[in-house]
């Protein structure tokens, strides 16, 4: 069995379309769409947490205010944020990636 890990490419082969006079607007559009998606994901996640806490009767808002992640957890959060930013701003990197590929 092959245990090689595979990275699927994010950029599709072919010219990227633009719809606005200034292609920068197309890039901003992509970024904003991704941001909207991530915000929607965050809402979903918060809602999941709230509902579970609510169901189990464990939530206290003061606990949330006072909460501080420990070092390990902070490392995880940093990594998550880093990946998050990478996903949203991916578009800005694609032109260079395409040039490197060709």
């Amino acid at each position: 069995m092959s245990e090689k890990s595979v990275h699927l490419p994010l950029r599709s082969k072919g010219k990227r379309a633009t719809f606005y006079k200034d292609p920068a607007v197309d890039q901003l559009f992509a970024i904003i769409t991704m941001l909207t998606q991530e915000l929607s994901v965050a809402f979903d996640r918060i809602e999941t947490v709230e509902r579970i806490l609510d169901k189990n009767g464990v939530i206290s808002r003061a606990d949330i205010e006072a909460y501080k992640p420990d070092e390990q957890e902070e490392t995880e959060r940093t990594q998550r944020r880093d990946e998050y930013i990478g996903r949203i701003f991916n578009i800005l990197r694609q032109e260079a990636e395409a040039l490197l590929d060709s």
Binding site: S2, S5, S12, G14, D26, F29
Partner: protein, 395 residues
């Protein structure tokens, strides 16, 4: 049935991945329904009247509509949304496929080894993969239908299969992963020709087989074959069919040189296939269909409706994919003279079929049956999967 894992539903998505997928589904629905409606309003109330004032007539074709709409903010926004949603569809499933690729591959190997349904998989590493597939990533799916990253790879099959569910996810219960198009064509044929008993059926460009399965369900006595050039699609499709207990016979072959004997199949079909081929390839494949078809058999392909069958505005909407979805042959295909093209492949003029088949899953049964008896119901309008345009003929 054995207890092999089903590649078709084993993928586990993390909470946030599911959430990203739900977002894309919802986003697409909004674009294709609400924003598309807004765009039509703006066209009817503003853009077309302006055009008429200037030219003294309505736009004569989709090109003129597009030129008039090109810089309308609603068109730019709709396009940018659609384009991003298309790309984000694949992105939303890729991480889960990456993470569980080894499991998927193992499940596919197990399915092939146990082969509980008795189907088959024939791969040909020397198959000629056409430029239509290698030049551009069709539908912006990175890696397209054919790329293989590791041995026995099924990654692209999984991205396609799970991505398609996200793609149609906003449209609710009517859209099932197991092929609405094929279910519509097969049920239509069965009702329209109750005496027709196909023994062998072929689906061209079957991808992972979503629209190949239903033929076996409607015609359980027939042997059902599918061909495609993409090995990861076929491996995935075969494993999926075996796990579902449906014997399918998949072959990695190019439809331009499919190699089956003359007079071999009773039904030759395809769905969403021809618009991805160049016009010369289309003509070649149609000739092959005629050759492989038994006398008394039928060729019936589902496709986008020809330009001449839909109104100018709808042509403009449909042609969007031709410009922006990496489908460069789309418009030339839609502009073909279908009668002439089908005749050119060998079919007799009075045996040609150009039929609008209502979607089986979402059409009231009575209406569907009336349609199959040749009554008015086939006049349903194109759009949003309510009716499928099919073309072909009897041999």
């Amino acid at each position: 049935m054995s207890n092999i894992r089903n590649v078709g539903d084993l993928l586990e998505h993390a909470h946030d991945e599911r959430s990203r997928q739900s977002f894309v589904s919802a986003f697409r629905k909004r674009i294709l329904m609400d924003v598309a409606d807004d765009m039509k309003v703006i066209y009817d109330k503003k853009v077309e009247p302006k055009f008429i004032k200037k030219h003294g007539r309505k736009p004569k074709d989709a090109r003129e509509v597009r030129a008039a709409m090109r810089h309308e903010p609603v068109y730019e926004g709709w396009s940018a949304m659609r384009y991003n949603a298309q790309i984000m569809t694949w992105w939303s499933v890729q991480p889960a496929v990456e993470r569980q690729l080894n499991e998927l591959i193992q499940a596919a190997r197990d399915a092939t080894e146990a082969n509980p349904a008795g189907g088959s998989l024939e791969l040909d590493p020397n198959v000629v993969i056409p430029r239509e597939v290698t030049d551009l990533d069709v539908h912006h799916m990175p890696g397209c239908f054919h790329t293989e990253y590791v041995e026995d790879d099924v990654a692209q099959g999984a991205v396609y299969h799970y991505g398609t569910q996200v793609f149609y996810g906003g449209f609710g219960k009517d859209v099932k992963p197991k092929g609405d198009v094929a279910a519509s064509i097969a049920n239509y044929l069965k009702l329209a020709r109750p005496d027709f008993k196909p023994e062998r059926i072929l689906d061209l460009g079957c991808t992972a087989g979503a629209n190949t399965f239903p033929y076996k369900e409607v015609y359980p006595d027939a042997e059902v074959h599918g061909i495609d050039v993409g090995a990861p699609m076929l491996r995935f499709g075969h494993a999926w069919a075996e796990a579902e207990g449906i014997p399918m016979h998949y072959h990695q072959r190019n439809a331009e040189t499919p190699g089956f004997p003359d007079n071999h199949f009773d039904i030759i079909t395809s769905s969403f296939f021809f618009h991805e081929l160049s016009v010369p390839a289309t003509k070649k494949v149609l000739k092959e269909c005629y050759r492989m078809l038994k006398p008394g058999g039928i060729m019936l392909h589902m496709e986008l409706p020809p330009t001449s069958h839909t109104d100018t505005y709808y042509n403009f909407v449909l042609d969007w994919d031709g410009f922006y979805n990496n489908e460069p042959h789309y418009q030339k295909f839609r502009n073909l003279d279908f009668l002439k093209t089908i005749q050119g492949a060998g079919f007799e003029k009075d045996k040609i079929e150009l039929i609008r088949i209502p979607n089986y899953g979402s059409t009231p049964r009575e209406e569907f049956e009336a349609g199959a008896r040749g009554e008015e119901a086939l006049k349903r309008e194109h759009g949003l999967g309510r009716v499928w345009f099919t073309f072909g003929g009897w041999k």
